[in-house]
Assembly symmetry: C2
Homo-oligomer: 427 residues x 2
């Protein structure tokens, strides 16, 4: 059963390809779409007709450039609907509304450093961010066709204790169930690593590739794994927890409670730890998180910083070689603030460690670099995932009938129980 795909699943996959080709490419003729997607001209034509009826594809003028007769250029109709991507991170929740062309039309952040003591508080913060983003987008909430929620997986700043606390996964599930009824569109969820994987498939280094790995480097680290062009979710939807694989048996204590995890060496606190070992009195140790990373970047000539970066690159290269050995991907792309800030400084030594450590050929043939997707990668990934979900046959079939049901208003959330709760949600 796992190997056979029904014709409606194939049609779903083909439809996603056509939409993705137009979202990414901007405009295309039917012939160009067939070439880009590898689908037959007849299939493309049928899908275009269906998507036009659903209001998602519009004409974009006539192409006279070719030698043949003029053909109609197509584009995504941004007004055809909107999609919401929500990034529940450790210190903030970001909601971003995109139009159907995946152009950002409204975004809002709410800080949640203190709110993690209570699922209620987090749910309020989340719905507040959503309401603000929808408001800024200027479209009625009822135009939302889908919402995607990126939820932290193993490690988080978390109901005090995180993944090592039994029941953390249940808390996350509870948050999901708490907010679901209050969102004005069907909800899909994934962990942030998987979300970033979706961004890379649509817009980044994994486009058109079969096997790819997207490694996120920030406070936490992890990997979005793409096999046969799809993001691997795993049996309990936590695939990609490369950050908590072992780099050093009985090594540094990781904030997940285990010892020797990759994250304890190449997560931002891990890099601080390394600098502290190199020079315990270094002034950059006063800084944390992004400020610390920025500080490293501004001081690469400082010998202690240079040594720290060399050690970090070695740790990272060895840890990446593990994922390369296991998955042998075509592409490995680095993302997250550490990658964006320090990628150029780290990459040569990372490459050297990979070449030394990964199995023969796997490193030589690997396309390694820093991701071109640098803004809202989790929110974008969740929005495109919700778009894919929407595009499945049944949701779209409902859409092609004229919409007669009243557009639901965004529900008013009960007033916050705590005076320090984030701003009240717009009604």
């Amino acid at each position: 059963m796992i190997r056979t795909r029904s014709s409606s699943e194939i049609r779903d996959a083909s439809r996603r390809e056509v939409v993705r080709a137009l979202v990414v490419g901007g405009t295309a003729t039917r012939t160009e779409l067939a070439r880009t997607t590898g689908l037959s001209a007849a299939t493309v034509s049928n899908l275009v007709t269906e998507l036009r009826e659903a209001g998602l594809i519009a004409d974009a003028g006539i192409d006279n450039a070719g030698s043949g007769r003029p053909t109609t250029m197509l584009r995504i109709d941004g007004r055809g609907g909107s999609f919401l991507g929500i990034d529940v991170a450790e210190t903030y929740i970001r909601a971003v509304v995109f139009d159907a062309a995946i152009t950002e039309i409204g975004a809002a952040d709410v800080d949640v450093d203190e709110e993690w003591q209570s699922i209620d508080r987090i749910a309020e913060a989340l719905l507040s961010a959503v309401a603000q983003a929808i408001d800024r987008g200027g479209r009625p909430a009822g135009e939302l066709l889908g919402a995607g929620l990126g939820l932290p997986g193993l490690v988080s700043n978390d109901l005090r204790g995180g993944a090592s606390t039994p029941g953390w996964a249940a808390h996350i599930r509870e948050l999901e169930e708490r907010v679901r009824p209050h969102l004005p569109a069907p909800l899909v969820t994934a962990n942030p690593l998987q979300a970033v994987g979706h961004s890379e498939i649509w817009f980044g280094a994994a486009r058109g590739r079969s096997t790819a790995v997207v490694v996120n480097l920030g406070t936490g680290v992890g990997a979005g794994i793409i096999v046969e062009g799809r993001v691997l979710r795993g049996a309990t939807r936590s695939a990609g927890e490369w950050g908590h694989t072992v780099l050093e048996l009985d090594g540094r204590i990781c904030r997940c409670g285990r010892q020797g995890c990759v994250e304890a060496y190449v997560g931002v606190p891990g890099i601080r730890h390394t600098l502290g070992e190199v020079d315990p009195g270094h002034p950059l140790l006063q800084l944390h998180q992004r400020e610390f990373v920025q500080g490293l970047r501004d001081a690469v000539a400082d010998p202690a910083v240079a040594e720290t970066l060399a050690l970090t690159a070695r740790y990272l290269g060895i840890a990446l070689s593990d994922i390369v050995a296991v998955l042998n991907p075509e592409v490995l792309t680095l993302t997250g603030w550490t990658a964006w800030a320090l990628g150029d400084d780290l990459l040569p030594a990372v490459r050297a460690a990979l070449a030394e450590r990964a199995p023969e050929l796997t490193a030589a043939r690997l396309d390694l670099g820093v991701s071109p997707v640098r803004i809202n990668s989790v929110a974008t990934g969740m929005a495109v995932l919700s778009f894919e979900y929407y595009l499945d046959s049944r949701a779209l079939a409902r859409r092609t009938r004229p919409r007669t049901d009243p557009i639901p208003a965004l529900p008013v959330i009960a007033p916050a129980a705590s005076p320090t709760a984030p701003q009240a949600v717009a009604g």
Copy 2:
């Protein structure tokens, strides 16, 4: 392109499902096949017709047991063809001929400890094993419909130097090209880890599962990775080299030349190393390979052996937790002689280490055990892979026309250059 599958690919996948259901289940009615495979009755009926014409399916009597009208039971016709699986291991080459029901009909081993100094010698040994296996199978070589060659990947006993030698992969490719023209059927290749993955999909713990990992524990260790029911090959066909991921930064020297690899702790030489640390004068250190593993098994009550097994189980559990964290599989199955001999002794402590180390839920939901496939797992995996390859539309379409081309004889190999070469190939 990677996401869309053509209708002929779907038909290929469906055909594989029907054949596999009959190979594994023995007999079934069309209705039962539809239920087992999830295919429509019409699809099953079409495929059965096609496979009967190709001589691969025969009637197996009438089923009167049901309440409805009697229906025809079907089975694979073992005489419909044969398939060859070849296991190129470090100390031997084994060739096994299976009939179309994947029943072994002939097998032969040739030792190759000394032959690894020359590709010519290995090629001779390989073709000698093949000729003997075909001869013992008692079917003309021309009845072979496919051959599968499992070739060592990263580490081997190797043209002196193995994977750390640049060009090892080229040597393996050279061996493949050397023997290909002399085999009497189309050849597919994979590494042994991937071969074992195919065995598990057909006959083992991965049957009907989406994501599964088969971990091979012997002299070398590695993993066959199954995602969405298919074996992951990787960009340079070396996915699964988990044995050379890092367990301890700057740890034990591995025979691949790197430091701290998983294999250096849980491969057989690694377990010997651990026993040597526990008790440098232990008598079991006189033994090697299978004899050493058997010796451990026979002496589990010995305190030094017990401590060695406890340490090994901990190393193994931590190393497995890495693959569980990254892939979050439904199933993890252990195979290879260490697993068969020591699995029952190791599993409780491995489970404990996994529960402690792997991300929440991933270990709790994991189906962990020792593989039920215990004989010829590489050769069987390569034979079923060659069967799958044969079943693809074009090969089968050629078959449904009556065969009129003369059956090619197995070629005579040029006499061995060295007097110690294996026995000459049967003409």
